[in-house]
Amino acid sequence: MSDEQVSNVSRGEMLKSLREMHAASVEQTQALLREQKQMQQSICQIIRETPKTVPEIAAEIGKPSHEVLWYIAAFKKYGIVVETGKCGDYPLYQRAKETQA
């Protein structure tokens, strides 16, 4: 699709046709996104009030601890969770103060 064509169709239509073009990967990624959203919700819910360690979170949501750690690392990088001290050899994580709902 050339640039000219793009400018002629609306942005929504363009995205739609692109989505069709990349249907397989978009579908896969949407599934991934759902999982990530769910993971984020359940993790954040658990550590909203009390900070917890990764194994504690993992035990509560029933996911492997390495996966939980990956999300915690990601959330920490983007400011969603913060480290608030340590419990034994494990750092504690808590939901960062939310700026928006």
């Binding site: 942005r11 989505r19 978009v26 990624t29 996104l33 360690t53 390495h66 915690i72 990088k77 750092p91």
Partner: protein, 440 residues
């Protein structure tokens, strides 16, 4: 992208490629530097500190990246793949594909607004997959160029990035673009990869979360790393007992890697020292066959590590398994007193070796040595010359070497390249005429 002519095309934007490009450009040669990643910096930019001086790695690398980016004689071609190469009368005609970033590189300011807006998290290869970044992102904060790149395979085309971009740089419709570079010489600096973590099944075959590769540890030790501190990836525990398994990916015929990778002893010792600094209570053990601290100042470095309390045990670790607490257990013979022991650690780092990066060698039709690195026919006479006149090789593309040796090798390749260009001038543009000297 327009076609253009240069004196040298440097393949690979790691430390060797950057140094070679800078040395050539400083002499006035028109240089193009091509890298398949969206940023230059190579492996070195992901390291924490470097041996034996313990300089922070970004202090050495980022200014070089910056110099490359700002050099008037260097054309930077990131996120580009080599497609083909043809010999021509004045050198080589190289077809290069600019992979789509889905971001207009001229418009993007690197503000990262798109990155913060993107809903998808994907494993960040610059953190060896242990950290995350978004499907659209600037690879890392010191990336050069500071241009976002979109991963179409992990995109739901929600359009949020496009909306938020202040310069309308996001363009979902970008296509790969092919262009040609006419060059008189090529410097191949395609670098290395680690021997795969999965290669040795006795070491868990990559399935044990707390058995990691050394570049992961580099990321833990770097301030920009995924956890911002040293934690084990299995469950986020701060390790109190860390083991290094030397020759985990080299000098092992059962892996098909027979050679010594040359850097592992030093990086293990360096990491041990850095860990001692970060986690003063941690016990660190290095299991080795031979300690090969051969470089300038390296032996002293080794002795310092011993004095700091790093434990060195001679014995090749035969197997690693996990106990029920996720702790890796190594089985090893202490060859000095002849006992077989099983020792439990919190975290095990496999000192993996170097194997050549796949790719460019095939396109350039260069023969490989027994070790699969680029063959250098006359190492004791012309250490950077390949079998093809006009193509030079440098850095870890020609065998394992550390950063110092790579940098020296890069300068030496630059000398060989410029000598070649001068000897084959054919009345073409020589280095820029010198300016009139100014006297003080």
């Amino acid at each position: 992208m327009e076609n253009f002519n240069v004196d040298t095309l440097v393949i690979g934007g790691g430390i060797a490629g950057m140094q070679a490009a800078l040395d050539l450009a400083d002499q006035g040669f028109q240089t193009a530097l091509v890298d398949h990643e969206p940023t230059i910096g190579g492996k070195m930019i992901t390291l924490s500190k470097v041996f034996p001086t313990l300089d922070c790695c970004s202090c050495i690398t980022t200014p070089k990246m910056s110099s490359v980016a700002h050099h008037p004689n260097i054309q930077l071609l990131t996120y580009c793949d080599l497609q083909s190469i043809q010999e021509s009368d004045s050198g080589f005609r190289v077809a290069i594909v600019q992979k789509p970033r889905y971001v207009d590189a001229h418009k993007c300011t690197g503000c990262r607004k798109c990155e913060y807006e993107c809903p998808i998290l994907i494993p960040n290869p610059y953190d060896r997959g242990l950290g995350a970044y978004h499907a659209i992102r600037v690879p890392f904060s010191t990336a050069v160029p500071q241009t976002a790149v979109l991963d179409m395979d992990n995109c739901i085309l929600c359009g949020k990035c496009e909306k938020v971009c202040p310069t309308q740089a996001v363009t979902f419709t970008q296509k790969p673009e092919t262009f040609e570079v006419q060059t008189r010489t090529i410097v191949l600096a395609s670098g290395f990869e680690l021997t795969p973590l999965e290669a040795k099944k006795e070491y868990g075959g990559g399935l044990l979360h707390n058995v990691i590769d050394p570049l992961m540890m580099e990321r833990f030790l770097a301030p920009t790393g995924p956890y911002g501190r040293v934690l084990r990836p299995g469950d986020g525990k701060e390790p109190t007992s860390i083991a290094y398994v030397q020759c985990a990916g080299s000098r092992d015929q059962s892996l098909g890697v027979e050679y010594c990778s040359r850097v592992c002893c030093m990086y293990a010792i360096k990491q041990a020292m850095l860990i001692s600094g970060a986690l003063p209570m941690a016990e660190i053990t290095i299991y080795y066959m031979d300690i090969r601290t051969f470089g300038k100042g390296y032996e002293q470095f080794y002795q310092n590590a011993q004095a700091m309390g790093v434990e060195f045990i001679r014995g090749k670790v035969a197997a690693i398994h996990e106990d029920d607490q996720q702790n890796p257990v190594v089985k090893v013979e202490l060859t000095e007193d002849g006992r077989v022991v099983e020792r439990t650690h919190d975290l095990v780092v496999l000192s993996l070796g170097m194997v050549p990066s796949p790719g460019s060698a095939g396109i350039l039709e260069l023969p490989l040595g027994d070790d699969k690195f680029i063959s250098v026919p006359a190492p004791n006479a012309r250490p950077c010359h390949t079998t093809r006149p006009g193509i030079f090789v440098t850095g870890t593309a020609m065998g394992p070497m550390d950063i110092v040796d790579s940098i020296i090798s890069a300068s030496s390749a630059a000398a060989a390249t410029s000598a070649y260009i001068r000897a084959h001038q054919n009345g073409q543009a020589s280095p820029k005429p010198q300016e009139e000297a100014v006297y003080a």
